[in-house]
Subunit: 578 residues, 2 copies
Amino acid sequence: MRASRFFISTLKEAPSDAEIVSHQLMMRAGMIKRLGSGIYTYMPMGLKVIRKVEAIVREEMNDAAAIELLMPLVQPAELWQETGRWDKMGPELLRIKDRHGRDYAFQPTAEEVMTDVVRSEIKSYRQLPLNFYHIQTKFRDERRPRFGLMRGREFTMKDAYSFDRDLAGMQASYKVMYDAYTRIFTRFGLKFRAVAADNGAIGGSGSHEFHVIASTGEDAVVYCPTSDYAANMEAAEALPLAAARPAPAQDLVKTSTPDATKCEAVAELLKLDLAQTVKTIALTVETEKDGKSTKQYFMLLLRGDHELNEIKVGKVAGLAAHRFSTEAEIDEVYGCVPGYLGPIGTLGPVTVVADRTVANMADFVCGANDAGYHYTGANWGRDAAEPAIVADLRNVVEGDASPDGKGVLAIERGIEVGHVFQLGTAYSEAMKATFLDENGKPAPLQMGCYGIGITRILGAAIEQNFDDKGIVWPTSLAPFELVLCPMGMDRSEAVKEAAETLYAEAKAAGIDVILDDRGLRPGGMFADWELIGVPHRVVIGDRGLKEGNLEYQGRRDTEATAVPVADVIGFIKGKMAA
Amino acid sequence: MRASRFFISTLKEAPSDAEIVSHQLMMRAGMIKRLGSGIYTYMPMGLKVIRKVEAIVREEMNDAAAIELLMPLVQPAELWQETGRWDKMGPELLRIKDRHGRDYAFQPTAEEVMTDVVRSEIKSYRQLPLNFYHIQTKFRDERRPRFGLMRGREFTMKDAYSFDRDLAGMQASYKVMYDAYTRIFTRFGLKFRAVAADNGAIGGSGSHEFHVIASTGEDAVVYCPTSDYAANMEAAEALPLAAARPAPAQDLVKTSTPDATKCEAVAELLKLDLAQTVKTIALTVETEKDGKSTKQYFMLLLRGDHELNEIKVGKVAGLAAHRFSTEAEIDEVYGCVPGYLGPIGTLGPVTVVADRTVANMADFVCGANDAGYHYTGANWGRDAAEPAIVADLRNVVEGDASPDGKGVLAIERGIEVGHVFQLGTAYSEAMKATFLDENGKPAPLQMGCYGIGITRILGAAIEQNFDDKGIVWPTSLAPFELVLCPMGMDRSEAVKEAAETLYAEAKAAGIDVILDDRGLRPGGMFADWELIGVPHRVVIGDRGLKEGNLEYQGRRDTEATAVPVADVIGFIKGKMAA
């Protein structure tokens, strides 16, 4: 490509609404252009990167025997009603009425359409396994779109759907996709981590997220540096901090703690370690039966310095549909104000759920169910009844024991760019997608689904790879692998000839090269390509040519290397492979 | 590709709603699958063809210095309001409200977004010319979607937009696109014709349509076999049938023609040639001025055997906003009933507009403005005042003189698959898309726009190329160029080995080959590939192998050719190039 025939449009300043570095740099590098809230035009420079992402994804999906098709964007509401998601999905689902008043959804994902396709196509176990994918635009009407391509409304996703005859087949298909994803993210040249994840609303029995590691990532990724263990924060299991509960050493003392409704304030007031305090969270579960509403009350106990993990709470038996209790409920049930609740004393209809760590604590500090007072030296069995339920309720922290027993946990920040799910038969049963098994009996298809946020990859790659000059693309994702910067191409015949020769050689060698023939001064030219983030640069100048040299500089190099003209292609190939 | 790893799903019968052959064959060949009215999933076999179409379009667009980007599907209403198209476009424009109640359009085309992009990007004449394109999904909410991909609602289009500093530049850009389209359709291997077209609602000063020729096409394509002249029916100019008007030879006679309100009935009743009759069409033009409505009346005259061309009528001065007169208006103005109107006698406020052919007629038959009576032997000047306006009002017919004076016109049927427009400054003025010219003065961008119906190409190609066995793809569009059909691959080691060797060789030779390893019987296997329309087939069987031969058969060949194993690749390459 010649720069004069491409469209290059760089900015000195990012627009003020660009809050994060990838959004700022993509705007400044002329890769995207805002059309509306969370809606972007992919400018030529940005589209080139998207195409590189797509090509790698497509190659690896095909190699993994997945078959590409293309499902429509505008999908009839009837299919979404079959699975109940027409109602279940909130305003994130963009709903459309056509000229006849019929309802449609702009696809945020395609489980329903895919299941509809296969239920008429797959008749026999002999046709299985099958895995279909498409790379297609999605729309999710985010309440607050931001961060450029990281949380846009219109975006591109690769979504794949596997179909198997039984659980073992589905798990094998899942493994094939997990391995393909590992190859894909490796080929992207990004530092990433696959972590066990909670299946969430999509249902099913197992899933992993693929995160690009970046200090600016909005997700916490938990891993064990000395083993294979890795999970997201929602799924990372917290073991009890002490294997067994120590014996009581202190007496129970009721202490005045005015205005200390938080553990931090209590610890400061009493000059105690925050890790000796226990915080109480009051929950209510409302159930309807025969038109009558019943309320159950739960008291959750967490160590003062720990964070509640709501996903884990939702998995405790009876707590799937919990909410925080209201002040009126707390007054009625505990006869106390929030901030002074605790497990000691008459608790009436309350079920106590202690975090594993709390269950193993001794001589702890907790609310006295009396406004303005806490207990110190509290102990299970002696002062408070043993908790009815002990469960993992908290987020893990750095240094927690790894659940696999092979070390301690570390935490880093990640950006979720891929997700693989074991769906099981949730969709196939709802939509009656069956096949005839070996015995001629109908059975529901075992499904998996597998997503990669194509456009999000761009944002994530930049969050991981940038410096104060701009983007630093890995070679596999760069809009161009190599830029040729001739100095005074219009003035010097020698420069022009050397530049054109190298341009032709680079193309012949299969390098995605751009020749900057715009006639800019060196400063502006270099600044553009450093901002855009092309990983390899060769400067062609009269001075170097006199000595038979060109100047190579990698995007992260602090200075240039003189390379003999004849060796340049080989030299660049070597750098590209490095 | 191995068939066992691809998805092949053929049907013996087409669904009953498939009215035309391309729709039927695409459904039977498993290329598309209906999701909703005018909305199709592109199945793997169909998507492969779409990708071939896209690749050719992309290569030629890039070669023509057009630059690819990707504009969003969901477009803010504000932009469509700037050009007035939010109101002007009817229910075909799919309108969407987001969660905040803001209005958007699902793009049917992208003039507004493109103009919005460039108005902030193009500052100086030095940046021009520029031509941007994208290959993107479109949605047009057709009242009655049908014919599969030929008139769907969701479809894929390539749309390009050129920007120039002046009219000459825009016309040069237009020529570049016209030539690129000619190369594109030539590479498709389709018989096509570029015809001059009317610009229609999109505005501007010139346009051409590209039609794939097919007897089932819904458009009439006019051309001159002995010259370059070609136009669509709307634009093809009809010259007067006689160069000068003959002198009157008959007397004017008022004749009773009861129940003969149509020219056909009058000609039959009076035993005259239909070409001697003149039909009258009464039009009304209503104009509002200072809140007062004024009506003007026009009488259009057409030879009895000719068809009215409404586009041409709309171009006559004063007739842009015409409508057919009501019976009440006709009664009031002519004092007569429809069916007996004519240009002879007191016409009050009526302006007579005669078609060129009618203006040169002598001794013609026309209504007498008296219910139940016609005149015969009518002549201009003598019996009727010379028509106030003479214009081209009719569709051309086969045998009409070519407007370029180089022969006579022929008519064939076509399917419109491409359209190039000279837009001028209609959009850039409405949206204030200006640049600074050489004198530093702002000037509106001169625009052109250029569309190709990517998915429609599939339908059009099939309408042109099919037989009773199925589709006959041109090699450049075929989902696979070559199919290998081994006979009893599971039984014969020799067949298996020869098939695998040829498969590897074909891939190495850059042929898009599929090896049918499904283990079907020959009949079913051949029927599948004939239906799908793969243009080249090689059968590998024990019998042939014993003599060192394989059997080649082109999709249109009536019998196979024995080719020595060692020569097969060269032989196929020769056939592919033919």
